[in-house]
């Protein structure tokens, strides 16, 4: 029974429930697995937890990351120099769980490495290792229905992305099918640092929030603590990736400082229900 409990437990869902009760905005941090090294990724996840990060999106590198801008392309290429396997990423999460880290961790990655690993096997192994969710940016709900079913069975949250170009009808379907939270892609384009946020962001997010009780997190282009604060004000949480990855190039300490600042900015916004 105890084993079954661990398997069915989902830290992401628990975190979301807590956040709702505490009216806390969610800060989801994207890190490229193995950049600049697996040890560095481990350290960053642990310090992120201490800085108040709510969710880790662990990006498994891919040779052809076509939704990503130059920063994440670079970190992926650097990580790939060490030929990391999905198994390595699972080992890291296992290690973190053994160390008592209970931060929700979501696997982010392009479909091919998962497909190559074996989709059904992946869902089971990822859950056992301690992953709580899955984001596959190049997998629309129309494809790979087997993987979807398996994720549901294993209680691994498969998060859907909604884009500025998504039609209303499709948005309803994506929001309904999304598990855990809804990932709103703030802009037309690839990931990366932007000077300003798109003008229709608030109205788009509002529309999605009216459709669902699931939290709506906004990613792509959020890079400064101030932007994060603004986005947190109009949504349920913020996803930051490229800005932190860019900071890692200057040094881990520098990145950790930025994570702390963004975390403070996000959490300074009290949750206001619609």
């Amino acid at each position: 029974m105890k084993e079954l409990d661990t398997l069915m437990k989902n830290r992401l869902e628990e975190k979301i429930k807590q956040a709702r009760q505490k009216r806390r905005k969610l800060f989801c941090l994207f890190l490229t697995f193995g950049y600049p090294s697996i040890a560095a990724t481990e350290r960053l996840i642990l310090s992120a937890r201490d800085s108040g990060v709510d969710i880790i999106e662990l990006g498994f590198p891919f040779s052809d990351p076509l939704a990503d801008g130059p920063t994440i392309q670079y970190s992926s290429q650097e990580s790939l120099k060490h030929n990391p396997s999905i198994r390595d990423a699972m080992r890291l999460v296992e290690r973190l769980r053994r160390k008592g880290c209970e931060l929700p961790i979501v696997y982010f990655g392009y479909l091919n490495p998962v497909f190559s690993y074996g989709e059904i096997k992946f869902a089971g192994d990822a859950k056992t290792a301690g992953f709580d969710g899955l984001i596959l940016p190049d997998l629309p709900p129309e494809e790979e229905t087997l993987l979807r079913r398996e994720c549901k069975r294993k209680n691994l949250c498969l998060v859907n992305l909604v884009a500025p170009t998504t039609s209303d009808e499709r948005m309803k379907m994506l929001v309904r099918e999304s598990q855990g939270f809804v990932y709103y892609v703030s802009l037309r384009g690839v990931t990366g640092v932007r000077r300003s946020l798109p003008s229709d962001l608030a109205s788009r997010v509002k529309k999605i929030r009216k459709m669902t009780s699931k939290p709506v997190l906004v990613g792509f282009g959020v890079s400064t603590p101030n932007q994060a604060k603004l986005v947190a004000r109009i949504s349920d949480g913020v996803i930051v990736g490229s800005a932190v990855i860019r900071e890692i190039q200057k040094g881990i300490l520098s990145a950790e400082r930025l994570i702390k600042r963004i975390s403070r900015a996000v959490h300074s916004e009290p949750h206001k229900p619609l």
């Binding site: 891919f62 040779s63 052809d64 990351p65 076509l66 939704a67 801008g69 130059p70 392309q73 290429q77 790939l80 030929n83 990391p84 396997s85 999905i86 392009y110 479909l111 091919n112 490495p113 998962v114 497909f115 190559s116 690993y117 940016p137 190049d138 997998l139 629309p140 129309e142 494809e143 859907n160 992305l161 909604v162 884009a163 500025p164 170009t165 998504t166 039609s167 499709r170 994506l174 892609v185 037309r188 384009g189 690839v190």
Partner: protein
């Protein structure tokens, strides 16, 4: 069963594996294409440009010297190399540019390997008054400098791609990233039967004029169908367009020739069907060159146009079903093919098409003396002369 299904699947291949931002654009394109497909006005306009501008129909030429050299069979060449801009690529770019104009798009982006598709895109953009941006790997820019210059003369902007292997695969990534960013006013003019649905189907249909003409010409002039069709396969647009109208003619045997680079037993080749396994890249599921971790491997070929680690999904399906046989020809064999066709027929083939000629020395001894075969000569060799210069 009709291929593809409504969601763009050819058996287990194809589909639409794209970031959410692009779903709407793919849906719009699918709808628009479904409309023009049945629109006689579109057909008429396209035919007008294909005939009076691009130079269709292209001849089917009997290469008697080449046949005599092998002492058996009759070899014919479908002369796509005679088209405006020097290759079959123009069939597709004119059609897609027409479609882009209908969609109200003012800008096209394209990827290119050898530069042929880039030149053909830039050319079509001129005709229809569209702004044109071509993404090209930095390595390819180096080995195809003449085509780069041509594109610039045609008013296109050539953007060098410095990421990854700096070849066609990376140029495709970058073109898709541009499309994601500028999807409102931009049409992505894919150059081959690859990418998310509806591209593999649409580009196949636009290139099918090659096979239709060949079929009609053979029936008219030779009172029957050919026994063999041969074409090179990179992404696979010339071969798909060539094979497609013959798929139901069970007696016509078809051979797709992949680029074998330094040999399929080495790491330096581009034979996705021969040596790859199914995977997902550029919005489609198809055979893919990849390592054990599912990372895409670099393709290698002497011809930039075949230097692609995957292949059109319909080819993957046709390989699995056994309808088309896929073989691999090395750089060295392709160069021999180039030399042979040049010396015997006075036709310098593109290095892509030279792969097909390179396969003849293996195939010809096995055929019946009376067999007739048609090779799709997809392009001319002008662009490759400086590459060939290093060998002869």
């Amino acid at each position: 069963m009709k291929q593809p299904d409504l969601k763009g699947h050819f058996g287990p291949y194809g589909g639409r594996y794209v970031p959410e931002t692009l779903v709407k654009a793919c849906e719009e394109l699918t709808e628009a294409y479904a409309k023009v497909r049945r629109d006689p006005k579109f057909k008429k306009e396209l035919t007008h440009y294909l005939t009076s501008y691009a130079g269709r129909p292209t001849p089917v030429y009997e290469a008697r010297n080449l046949s005599a050299y092998f002492k058996r069979g009759r070899i014919f060449l479908k002369r796509e190399d005679l088209l405006h801009t020097g290759a079959h690529k123009i069939n597709n770019t004119i059609a897609q540019a027409l479609l882009a104009r209908r969609l109200g798009k003012t800008r096209i982006v394209a990827e290119t390997g050898a530069g042929q598709h880039g030149v053909a895109s830039a050319t079509a953009a001129c005709v229809f008054g569209l702004k044109c941006v071509v993404y090209m790997g930095a390595v390819d820019i180096e080995r195809q400098s003449l085509n780069v210059y041509k594109m610039k003369l045609l008013g296109a902007e050539v953007r060098p791609v410095m990421s990854g292997s700096q070849t066609l695969k990376d140029a495709t990534n970058e073109a898709i990233r541009d499309w994601v960013t500028n999807v409102e006013d931009t049409h992505y003019l894919i150059g081959s039967v690859v990418g998310p649905h509806p591209y593999p189907m649409m580009v196949r249909d636009f290139q099918s004029v090659i096979g239709r003409e060949t079929r009609a010409s053979f029936l008219k002039n030779h009172g029957g169908l050919p026994d063999y069709l041969l074409a090179c396969v990179g992404g696979g647009s010339n071969s798909m367009g060539f094979f497609y109208p013959f798929l139901k003619d069970k007696k016509v045997r078809m051979i797709g020739v992949e680029a074998g680079g330094e040999g399929v037993s080495t790491k330096h080749h581009a034979s996705s069907i021969t040596a790859g396994r199914p995977g997902i890249l550029h919005g489609m599921k198809s055979y893919l060159l990849q390592d054990k971790n599912g990372q895409v491997q670099l393709a290698h070929s002497i011809s930039a146009g075949l230097d692609y680690p995957s292949v059109g999904p319909e080819h993957s399906h046709l390989s699995d079903s056994g309808r088309v046989q896929y073989v691999s020809v090395t750089d060295t064999e392709a160069l021999k093919g180039f030399d042979l066709l040049t010396k015997l027929e006075g036709i310098m083939p593109a290095l892509e098409s030279a792969h097909v000629v390179g396969h003849l020395s293996k195939l010809m001894p096995k055929i019946k003396k009376t067999d007739r075969m048609v090779i799709c000569l997809s392009g001319r060799g002008d662009k490759d002369i400086h590459t060939v210069q290093q060998y002869f």
